[in-house]
């Protein structure tokens, strides 16, 4: 990589993205993105999920081609048709999900795909020497002969970095590198990044963890809704200011106003036990009551029985013991349809699997789950006009961004699909809403809107069972909080008093000793 610095000025930026635009099916496109990355710096790219960071990095790494705009590496314009082109130009990518073969050694993994040849055989000796050299030059501390299966997460990540360096990268893209690391490993990684920087390499660091960004980056570019909205220096901003730049307005906070809890029990669950097909007890003697106007939050590490609880309540999964009472009526043996007809709304955890027909129109999706109620049907006949009119209402009231109700659900972005589901489940005045991760994978705007709809329905005496992995959401939106651990409800907390840390330790069982 020999680069002539432009006469009399600073060296050309390592990466210069100008006016990049990418129109992309259904999700926020990149539009007019401009980023300039100085040589020998750590440049952080921050933004919400869905802000277009990953698309942009795929464009820079040659996995996708921009519709408009130019890329320049070290001042020279380039066109990347594939990652191979990007690697040749010195741009390498460390993916969030490691791409390593467990049963091969570090050496074998690193050379895989660019094997050094000596005649017909492989020249492992040269490769080993180069790996050792790179490893010590950048302080990566990687032993080329260890089996990848034996390595920890942090070490694997360093192998990924080494792999990219081995191929001659001078600019490294790290896609959410800290997502998989524990705090000490994060510190080590940042040490490595500083070493790489000191050797003149350039690092593009994608993250949405703002504290980390502030501690390691030299420059920060903020993306929002597919475009770059600000370039700032870490010393000039706080984490809060960055977050507001990311979402474009004051942050929405999940919170309930005054209590609307009544003493009228809507859902009573008593001794609910579910044994799965393997004979394992996945829900063990679970009891709780949700009142009209109350939100009961269930906190727990995923896989502790939340999915089974929801499916048992909806009648999708048979329960082995216990009773479920809805508005005074025993529905333990009722079918899913009977439960829905008696006023249970359901926002499923996986909207593509349980919530939508992706290859059906929006209005057909409005009918889904409500096939027996007005305005969707008249007796055994579909009321197409009624269903379509009501879909128009949902689209307007819930701000579903779509050109029309005749498009397929698959064409909408995740947030808009979710708003359609929320609107549908809130229709027909339900008495109980089972909301499983209602704001998962949706953008901040949709998140705030969904919270607001739940708040409003709660004020109108809706009972809500809220299951979420987002502790702030749970604490902010719940009137009552329970922790589920290995299929049992182990602790109750007052959401007004509990901190995310306390909740976190209760979720792992650490809080049980007190």
């Amino acid at each position: 990589m020999s680069t002539e610095p432009p006469a009399g000025g600073a060296p050309a930026p390592a990466v210069q993205l100008s006016a990049i635009t990418k129109r992309f099916p259904g999700v926020v496109a990149n539009s007019d993105v401009n980023i300039s990355v100085r040589v020998g710096t750590v440049h952080a790219l921050v933004g919400e999920n869905g802000a277009g960071k990953s698309t942009l990095m795929k464009i820079l790494y040659g996995m996708q081609q921009p519709d408009e705009g130019t890329i320049a590496i070290d001042g020279a314009p380039v066109i990347f048709a594939s990652p191979a082109d990007a690697i040749r130009a010195g741009v390498g990518m460390v993916h969030q999900h490691f791409m390593l073969a467990d049963n091969l050694t570090v050496l074998e993994n690193v050379v895989l795909g660019s094997e050094p040849r000596k005649g017909v055989g492989l020249d492992f000796a040269t490769a080993r020497a180069r790996i050792t050299e790179i490893s010590s030059a950048y302080g990566l501390g990687v032993d080329p002969d260890r089996l990848v299966a034996d390595l920890g997460v942090g070490e694997r990540q360093r192998v990924e970095i080494l792999k990219v360096l081995y191929r001659g990268a001078r600019t490294l893209i790290l896609d959410e590198p800290t997502a998989v690391l524990v705090p000490q490993e994060v510190e080590e990684l940042f040490g490595n990044l500083r070493d790489l920087k000191a050797e003149g390499l350039t690092i593009l660091f994608i993250s949405h963890k703002l504290d980390e960004v502030l501690s390691v980056a030299d420059d920060i570019t903020v993306m929002r809704r597919g475009t770059t909205v600000a370039s700032v220096l870490p010393q000039d901003v706080t984490a809060r200011k960055l977050a507001e730049l990311m979402v474009g307005s004051a942050l929405p906070v999940p919170e309930l106003r005054e209590s609307t809890v009544t003493d009228e029990a809507v859902l009573s669950v008593d001794g609910l036990t579910v044994v799965n097909a393997d004979g394992r007890t996945v829900l063990d003697d679970v009891s709780f009551t949700i009142h009209a106007g109350e939100v009961l939050g269930i906190a727990g590490v995923e896989g502790n029985g939340q999915a089974e609880l929801v499916e048992a309540l909806m009648g999708i999964r048979p329960c082995s013991a216990g009773t479920i009472t809805l508005s005074g009526r025993d529905i333990t043996r009722a079918t899913t349809r009977q439960r829905r007809e008696s006023g249970m709304g359901y926002i499923p955890e996986d909207r593509h699997r349980q919530g939508l027909l992706l290859e059906a129109t929006l209005w057909e999706n409005r009918v889904l789950g409500h096939q027996t109620s007005k305005p969707n049907v008249r007796g055994p006949l579909l009321d197409r006009r009624g269903a379509k009119a009501d879909t128009e209402r949902i689209v307007a009231e819930y701000d579903v961004r779509t050109p029309g109700i005749e498009v397929h659900a698959a064409a909408l972005s995740g947030g808009n699909q979710q708003k359609l589901i929320v609107g549908r489940e809130m229709s027909g005045s339900p008495v109980l809403l089972i909301a499983s991760h209602p704001t998962r994978g949706v953008d901040v705007g949709a998140q705030a809107a969904i919270w607001e709809h739940i708040r409003r329905a709660r004020a109108e005496r809706l009972a809500v069972l809220l299951i979420s992995a987002d502790l702030d959401e749970l604490i902010g939106m719940s009137d009552t909080l329970s922790v589920i651990l290995r299929g049992r409800l182990v602790a109750d907390h007052d959401p007004a008093a509990v901190t995310p840390e306390q909740l976190g330790s209760a979720m792992t069982g650490a809080g049980r000793e007190d």
């Binding site: 809704r225 919530g355 049907v377 579909l382 961004r401």
Partner: protein, 372 residues
């Protein structure tokens, strides 16, 4: 049904028309390579197409193909593969023929007699298909396997029953075996067409009615919606309160009932008895016709007419010195290429729609929201 724009109509036609052209070219190539003249073949086929008799026969054949295709399509709509239409219609035709031809039916008024025959055939078809449905919902047996096996059982059961010792008699003056002839009161008269010795089946209207009901039930009723939902996503259907087992049983019974009708227009309109010469294999043709017609009531009608026409012109090829098997090749190529073409068009549509949505929302909204 989606909004009809010129573009969507053209896209819908692209796949079948493309497949037909491709199949025609390929068959022309095969003919040329084997030393036959493609031009002569087309001449022979078009000459035969100008004979009213060919057209009448084509329509009659298409009637049974269409019924068979609808039976298959009912299952297809919820990803249920009823391969057993063949066995279902042969069982139904044999038993209905035996009932309609039985001596005690003589005294029954004609309308009631025909109605009873039709209902009996539907019941038998539904019952035969119902075995596969029960096996599926109680024991988890794949309906593909069970219906194929039931076809084989039906073949043996039909030859066991179609025997002078049981339901049949020997056709005088031949070694054919058939059920007793259905007398005039049990028949459905056809329509004369000038210049043709064959008549159009009276029960052509039965096919039209079945096609209409198929369209109505599937697109206008709650049951049809749930059938479609189950086909698109079983997990979403379950979460929406649809009992998948119930849907399997009902749709299999409906499919079998329609399958039972496949042989009836021929039985009551022309042959008047079930013999060894009764058309076989129509159930499998129905699969091809349903695929070609995309399970659409009109699409399948067009496909059934095409298949019926090809079948009936094949006879004229022999006289032109062209092997009639070229028609089988052509049908096979059409089905294979149409399946590929539909999938390509489907993917193109999904992408085009996502682009349209992205275009309508993504860019303009983004710019405006950012500046806001």
């Amino acid at each position: 049904m989606r909004n009809l724009t010129l573009r969507s109509v053209l896209l819908g036609l692209a796949a079948p028309v493309g497949a037909l052209v491709f199949a025609a070219l390929l068959c022309a190539g095969i003919l040329a390579v084997t030393g036959h003249s493609p031009v002569d073949t087309v001449d022979a086929m078009s000459a035969s197409a100008q004979r009213p008799r060919t057209l009448v026969n084509s329509l009659n054949t298409a009637v049974s193909y269409y019924l068979s295709a609808v039976a298959v399509a009912i299952g297809f709509r919820m990803k249920l593969f009823n391969i057993g239409v063949d066995g279902q219609y042969r069982m139904a035709a044999l038993l209905a023929a035996a009932l309609a031809g039985a001596a005690f039916m003589e005294g029954v008024p004609p309308v009631l007699r025909v109605t009873m025959t039709v209902l009996a055939s539907m019941l038998v078809g539904a019952a035969w298909a119902g075995i596969a449905a029960l096996l599926k919902v109680t024991r988890g047996v794949s309906e593909v396997i069970s219906t194929i096996m039931l076809n084989a059982i039906a073949t043996y059961l039909v030859s066991y029953l179609n025997n002078p010792a049981r339901l049949a008699e020997v056709n005088p003056g031949s070694n054919d075996v058939k059920t007793p002839d259905i007398t005039a009161g049990g028949q459905v008269p056809g329509f004369e067409v000038t210049g043709s010795s064959s008549k159009v089946y009276g029960l052509v209207f039965l096919a039209v009615l079945v096609g209409f009901l198929y369209w109505f039930v599937l697109s206008r009723t709650r049951f049809g919606f749930e059938l479609k939902a189950t086909g698109l996503s079983e997990s979403a259907a379950v979460a929406s309160g649809v009992s998948v087992k119930k849907m399997v049983v009902i749709s299999m019974l409906l499919s079998g009932a329609v399958a039972g009708l496949v042989g009836i227009p021929e039985l009551l309109g022309a042959s008047h008895s079930y013999s060894l010469n009764f058309p076989a294999g129509v159930g499998f043709i129905g699969i091809a016709v349903a695929l070609l017609g995309r399970n659409h009531p009109i699409g399948m009608a067009v496909a059934a007419l095409l298949w019926g026409f090809l079948f009936n012109t094949a006879n004229s090829l022999d006289t032109a010195g062209v092997p009639r098997e070229i028609v089988d090749i052509m049908q096979g190529v059409i089905v294979l290429s149409v399946v590929v073409a539909y999938e390509l068009v489907r993917r193109y549509r999904v992408r085009a729609e996502q682009h349209a949505v992205g275009h309508a929302l993504g860019r303009t909204k983004t710019a405006e929201e950012v500046s806001a």
